[in-house]
């Protein structure tokens, strides 16, 4: 089972790492990182790669949508869903 709190911290910290150098606002987990200027839309692909690598999941084509990568909350939800799907598949 995935530890939701650990995943949340990992994703939050990763976004902090790639935040625009001149952005001085505080990142909240519910913030839309593109609308609030934390990350440009160029970062979306990097977030996809990060999620796949860190949580050892393959994000299926139907889930590769900006709404799944626009906040810490949405990415945690995506990882939970994918981990849940994977664990259900293993159980069957």
């Amino acid at each position: 089972m995935m530890d939701e709190k650990v995943a949340r911290i990992q994703i939050h910290n990763f976004i902090e790492e790639i935040i625009d150098a001149f952005h001085d606002g505080e990142l909240k987990d519910s913030d839309n990182i593109y609308d609030k200027g934390f990350v440009s839309s160029l970062g979306a692909m990097r977030l996809l790669q990060y999620i796949e690598n860190t949580f050892e999941v393959q994000v299926p084509d139907e889930d590769i949508h900006l709404k799944n990568f626009n906040s810490v909350d949405s990415m945690v939800a995506l990882v939970q869903k994918l981990k849940g799907d994977a664990s259900n598949a293993n159980d069957n």
Binding site: E17, I18, I19, D20, A21, S41, L42, A44, M45, R46, L47, L48, Q49, Y50, E52, N53, D61, E62, I64, H65, L66
Partner: protein
């Protein structure tokens, strides 16, 4: 399933044999004729080179990213236009489909692309929009079960030959990507001639007039045309271009080294003069450094590490610069002969400049790398 080490080496050896015996000696001819002959494209297809990035389950070779980089260098060293086909077809199109296409699209297109029965190309730039890619003017609208595309694309490598286009278009502020087959009515391709380099890449301007694309041919989700599709394609393309820089620089280094050993002036071989040795020493060092950056980016790709994206930007920025510098020095070593199309270095010099422009100009790379540097290294600085 990926290839074994033995299979990979055998495959790369076959690519070396084909490029050295069938491509390299004719690269100048392709450049002068402004076209890549059918037999070269078929030769690349027959050897599996066009399907190098496609897994075996779809009829490809399933080469890992590092070995694919080596393949790019092998083909690019022989002929820049042949390598461009690999960049466009195998990287921009095939790798993007692998990452973002749905299962039905993969089954429909990848086997044909793997065997070269279909050639792919990528249509993003427009007459009015290059680096500012998200400001495209090409429009789409949804009508019943179809999307109607209208607009113009420019600088489409192999646009004059390709059977399948990845097209980026806009509806309002929503940017989406489409898989467009050339057989659909309303597509008109016009060759672009008079180019500095990439002359045999069938470069085209493409006009789309009321082109009806089936709904199932949306690549990725509606609205992800720039954020995911274009950026993914450019990432793969940029990786290939990074290796293309190594290829040109290596080719120029080999040519100037050979010339320095045979050419005699003032009673000595020119390679015996320290100023020529200096040029060759710089070229050797730059080529080694350029290849090391590409290998590092490739290793990140092999381990699926997100750092691959920035390392690829860094590699592309550096290797394209190196290609320009080393090929310029090669022209210098060749002197008058270097300015003549009977020797390959003038072509290498012309081709090298293209690498600083395509798949994100050097200035765009500097912005990305500079931002990355400030984020990463400012936190490590300590002030007292």
């Amino acid at each position: 399933m990926q290839m074994t080490i033995e299979e990979t080496e055998k495959f790369l050896a076959s690519a070396v044999e084909f490029s050295e015996t069938s491509i390299k000696q004719r690269a100048g001819e392709f450049d002068r004729n402004g076209a890549l002959p059918k037999e070269i494209i078929e030769g690349l297809a027959q050897r599996g080179i066009l399907g190098a990035t496609i897994p075996k389950e779809y009829g490809g070779i399933g080469l890992d990213p590092l070995s694919y980089g080596r393949l790019t260098e092998i083909i690019g060293k022989a002929c820049c236009s042949s390598r461009t086909l690999l960049t466009v077809h195998a990287s921009l199109v095939c790798e993007t489909l692998l990452k973002l296409a749905n299962s039905a699209q993969k089954k429909r297109y990848l086997p044909k692309l793997a065997h070269g029965k279909m050639l792919g190309c990528f249509a993003l730039s427009e007459p009015e929009n290059g680096s500012d890619a998200s400001s495209i003017n090409m429009r789409y609208e949804c009508k019943e079960n179809k999307f109607i595309l209208n607009g113009k694309k420019k600088w489409v490598s192999f646009g004059g030959l390709a059977d399948l286009f990845i097209v980026i278009a806009k509806e309002g502020d929503t940017i989406s990507a489409f898989l467009v087959e050339k057989t659909i009515p309303g597509i008109n391709t016009k060759p672009i001639v008079g180019l500095l380099g990439n002359r045999a890449t069938h470069m085209a301007e493409i006009t789309f007039t009321d082109v009806e694309v089936p709904k199932e041919n949306v690549l990725g989700k509606i609205g992800t045309g720039f954020t995911f599709v274009a950026n993914t394609a450019l990432f793969y393309g940029r990786y290939s271009i990074a290796w293309a820089g190594v290829a040109i620089a290596q080719a120029a280094l080999e040519e100037m080294s050979k010339y320095a050993i045979f050419r005699e002036q003032f009673g000595h071989k020119i390679g015996q003069y320290q100023l020529i040795k200096g040029l060759i020493a710089d070229a050797v060092t730059q080529v080694h450094a350029a290849r090391a950056l590409c290998q590092k980016a490739g290793e990140y790709r092999v381990s699926n590490d997100d750092q691959a994206i920035m390392e690829t930007n860094i590699a592309k920025y550096f290797t394209s610069k190196v290609a320009v510098q080393v090929s310029s020095d090669a022209v210098q070593v060749f002197g008058g002969n270097g300015c003549w199309d009977q020797y390959p270095v003038e072509r290498l010099y012309r081709e090298s400049k293209i690498l600083e422009i395509i798949e994100g100009t050097s200035q765009i790379q500097q912005i990305l790398i500079g931002d990355h540097g400030m984020k990463k290294y400012s936190r490590q600085a300590v002030y007292t």
